[in-house]
């Protein structure tokens, strides 16, 4: 078995100078402060990874999102719970940052419902969509199950999410639940599998679960050695590890 060591000599200067837009969310991430920040800023940030805190979600939204990511990514033999691996933190930072505020989203009206083939057509930024849809989800759950989402039992949560995904739920005011589910599901997957620098995938746990070696990838030799069905394994390397 080849245990390839990453080349840790790669200079960090290019990375640090180029974090740019994506770095806006990353800079707030307490999960990897020492790596994400310039040295001057790093010492001012907290280092306790559990004390995440939220910058966009309000308390009821925190309850919803933590409950949701723990339902979708439960603690088991493969990973800690979704909240504990930072998925809720990831989504919070994404919504607080430029993406959540509508970066690279065309926002000119008029607004038509359109066909499914025409894609996203709501006049809401991702952050505004979460705000409206979490309130809508809790209202729906209270009406249907007698309690807000985080108080529902596992079966009720499962029913709610499946109905949301299937387009069976329209929130009060007409917001289509399926559109919210699409964005939510994608964000949960991002929080689980994106580089830990964004606040999720804590300790590269999801990469370890898959056997994805991360950003270290000088495979010109490996491609010849491991092309017979054998598995290549290596400790995953993240952006912070190389910075």
């Amino acid at each position: 078995m080849s245990e390839d060591k990453p080349d840790l000599k790669v200079a960090r200067r290019d990375f640090l100078s180029g974090v740019g837009i994506a770095g806006a969310a990353a800079a707030l991430s307490p999960a990897t402060p020492a790596m994400a920040q310039t040295p001057a800023q790093a010492k001012d940030l907290p280092v306790a990874p559990q004390a995440a805190g939220y910058t966009y979600f309000k308390p009821t939204e925190v309850q919803f999102i933590e409950t949701l990511v723990d339902h979708m990514v439960p603690k088991d033999e493969l990973t800690p719970s979704g909240t504990d691996i930072g998925i809720a933190t990831y989504i919070d930072r994404a919504l607080a940052g430029s993406w959540g505020k509508g970066d690279r989203l065309y926002m000119q009206g008029p607004w038509g419902k359109g066909t499914p083939n025409q894609g996203y057509q709501l006049p809401l930024t991702p952050a505004a969509l979460y705000r409206a849809a979490i309130a809508g989800s809790n209202a729906y759950c209270r009406k249907t199950f007698g309690q807000s989402f985080e108080r529902c039992n596992a079966q009720q949560k499962e029913t709610f999410l499946k109905d949301l995904q299937a387009g069976k739920i329209t929130f009060d005011g007409g917001l289509p639940g399926r559109v919210f589910f699409g964005v939510l599901y994608e964000n949960v997957m991002e929080g689980m599998f994106a580089d830990p620098i964004y606040g999720g995938n804590k300790d590269k746990i999801a990469w370890k679960m898959l056997g994805f070696p991360g950003v270290m990838a000088n495979n010109a030799e490996n491609v010849k050695q491991y092309n017979d069905g054998r598995r290549f394994t290596a400790n995953p390397v993240s952006i912070a590890d190389m910075s």
Binding site: L105, F193, N219
Partner: protein, 588 residues
Amino acid sequence: MATRLPPVDIVIVGMGWTGGILAKELAQTGLKIVALERGAPRSTQNDFSVPLIRDELRYSQRHDLMMDVSADTYSIRNKPSETALPMRRLGSFLPGEGVGGAGAHWNGVTWRWPDHELRIRTKYEERYGKSFVPADMPLQDWGISGPELEPYYDKFEYTAGVSGKAGNIKGQIQKDGNPFEDPRARDYPLPPLVSNHASQLFAKTAKELGYHPYVRPTANASQPYTNPDGMKIGQCQYCGFCERFGCEANAKGSPHITVIPVALRNPNVELRTYTWVTKVLKDSTGKKATGVAYVNVMTGEEMEQPADLVILSAYGLSNVHLMLLSGIGKPYDPETQTGVIGKNYAYQGGANVTLFFEGKSFNPFIATGGWGTSIDDFHTNWNFDRGPHGYVGGAYISVGGSNGRPITYRPVPPGTPQWGSDWKRATAKWYHAALTIAASGAVMPNRYNYLDLDRTYTNRFGQPLMRMTFDFSENEKKINRYAAQVIGDIAKAMNPTQMGQATPRLTWSVVPYQSTHNTGGAVMGTDPATSALNKYLQSWDMPNLFVTGASAFPHNSGYNPTGPVGALAFMMADTIRNKYLKNPGSLI
């Protein structure tokens, strides 16, 4: 009031592959050339260094190197009876932006389209009769032949550093190459890439079934390479961050490391970034371009750049958009089937199936952009009889697998839950053990698939968005269904533990990524009544305007477009230097 700049000889709009090729080739004339690029400057060192560039979220999910649709996008609909709505997020296709264009973040697949694609109407009518082509399919010859284009394919392959194995050198069929390709003068500049286990399994079964597998040609360098301009290309490291990313090793043939720096060595070539061209300017006759209008996007200042010769070399869709905004040529009308600008828009079809092999590991993250093994038995093979299938075109079939990036690459067998512990277990179990057989299908023109200006929505400069009307027609549904059947049969013969359903593309949605192979809208041809450009990509209506790009393709093959896009740009440069500049005017 726009600021009028000192005139230049040639203005080039867009600095990707074709703008770079034109700038490099025309620099040798000594004429004053200005290239305008609406996006940012880009360099490997500053933009594509490790670990910066190995960020799936930033580059793949959030499209950091692509067109920003908050500034300009397209309105889209499947058919004329629908109301077009803006593509509010990128999805289905990903136009590039910035120096190098999509050439900085493509996968690298580089094909030569055969003669029977370029003379498609003639060839199908000869073989199947005039009634074989449906009445609603404006199928057209391109005005050039395979042998005419061959030397320019060669130039592009040697400039970009394509790895591959020739299948036919001067009529001699070569072992392990694609036996169906047209004759070529010489082999690729670099040997084929390493074949991975998934490709080997596919090749073995394909051979047993009587097909002709070969390693696909692609501009990912199998070895270090120096191109004819002396530009260095590094060896591919199979990092699995290719398409949607720039290459830190300079191992992907890209304009920002080849043609563009070569062009910029010449003092008579000037590149202006952050300049957004809004219109081609015309004289009072409307028959002559006088330059272009642009906005300095750093200041908002409006500029006019006079020039004797205007070359549009932006992304194909942007070329068409500029022609529509400038009122060059007659816009196409699907009802009367008159007009040419916006006509014959096409996209990419196909089918795919995923196979699961318990206990095997394909190491999906050890990968590179364009690699893979393909068969052309149902595509470039002209002997494949389309008659019983009743379609024009075909689909090439491959096993490649360009990456194992985990936000998007997590194959699981059908019926797997989408969240929860069972989902996690299946995701972990099958991540290494899956491969996909993909068919890439041709799209023929249809009278109702076209581009025009939107009536409602505008871009950041107040100009109408371009409107795209497209869906797969019966011809494409037949191609894709048959391709699904073929790949399903190959999949079964490969004897996987489990497999999904082979699924053909039957309708176009703007949401999931499918392909950035948007073609047509300003097509080349033999007749000004049915084409915007002549065979040299010169505007019929405005002889001092030339237009590069896949917008010139009268139909779309199953093949990726960059090979002919590059070859046609080299041919255009040759024509401008050796014919047009000696006697400016219509070349035909």
